[in-house]
Symmetry: C2
Subunit: 179 residues, 2 copies
DNA sequence: TGCCAGCTGAACATAGGTGTACCGTTGTGA
DNA sequence: TCACAACGGTACACCTATGTTCAGCTGGCA
């Protein structure tokens, strides 16, 4: 029940970051009073949604073997599946102004940055900084979520799209057709 | 003068989309009354900022030879230079709800989509839809602007970062070092 | 000097979001 | 059946953003 509330709040606030608490409550099929009882202020609601997304990512991180050489592929595939909950984290305006959230986000980025740095010894190019590669990954994820949202991209195609584009780029290599 | 006002409005609204008109006026060193005289409503201001960005893109488009094989590289290099004005266009929440703006944005995208489709015969891969490639380009631009904004990326490095990443990807191809 | 145009700050009314208190309803368990 | 907790709705007070009006100030110009 409370889970459904957070999910609804995520999608409503993601579609319109200025949506009122009344809008959120109505979309969740809940009285505004009840919403206020669970989340006393708007800031509390936003923080709860963000922390929920971070919990989701944490639970995914646990399942990924960061020592493996395919850790990035695995991580991305799992993140794509999370969808809007995580998109909220990347795009909701003003989240970075919350001290607690920002440190949690940075803490979440760190192991991935370390992974990237390690893989720059082998499968990742060395002439780009790790943070740039990280942001490129995030951008790919965001593109996929957005495309899914607009109905342009099938969710099952998303991981392949993201991985292909981020790793290999959009240029046509060689003369052969790679269909 | 009015140009400076629009630039300031762009950066203020981009940093905090919920910023009040008072904030914008103060940042521009202008009275709130004056701001209201130039842009009667908040929506008018936002639309003016967006249209200004679209004008900027139009003027850039005119300088690009869309028939050339290097048109994409040229276009991206020029777009990177535009910075936050165009970033506003891609990220300000709710812009797509303005009918006039949405059609203008779509009209702006069309020639690029056509260009991508044409280049998919030669230098761009055919196993990804054109719209996906377009959004990948935009994502690269956005990453660059954000990184520049945070001071992590030198503006002069930006075009190379974007082009390299988008076209070639972040994977290390071959065993040789490509520094 | 007098006129005018543009800008400014102050003041005001309005609207909408937000947070709180209160009350009636519903459903559950003793 | 009764007690109790959870929920929904109404009503209220408060605050902020917004849009408008008005009067004063400044600088250019005839």
């Amino acid at each position: 029940m409370s889970v459904h509330l957070l999910q609804t709040a995520t999608s409503v606030l993601l579609k319109d970051p200025t949506a009122s608490l009344g809008d959120v409550a109505r979309a969740a099929g809940v009285g505004r009073t009840t919403l206020h009882k669970r989340f006393p202020t708007r800031a509390a609601l936003v923080r709860a949604v963000a922390n929920d997304a971070l919990d989701l990512i944490d639970s995914v991180s646990c399942q990924v073997d960061f020592g493996s050489d395919d850790a990035i592929e695995d991580l991305i595939t799992r993140l794509v599946a999370l969808g809007p909950r995580v998109e909220f984290l990347l795009r909701f305006p003003g989240l970075e102004r919350d001290e607690e959230l920002r440190t949690r986000i940075e803490a979440m980025d760190q192991p991935v940055l370390d992974l990237i740095t390690r893989l720059q010894g082998t499968k990742l190019r060395r002439d780009l900084p790790a943070w740039w590669i990280l942001h490129t990954l995030y951008a790919g994820l965001f593109n996929a979520w957005e495309a899914i949202n607009y109905g342009r991209l099938a969710p099952l195609d998303a991981p392949r799209f993201v991985l292909t584009t981020v790793f290999e780029g959009v240029a046509n290599v060689g003369t052969a057709d790679r269909t």
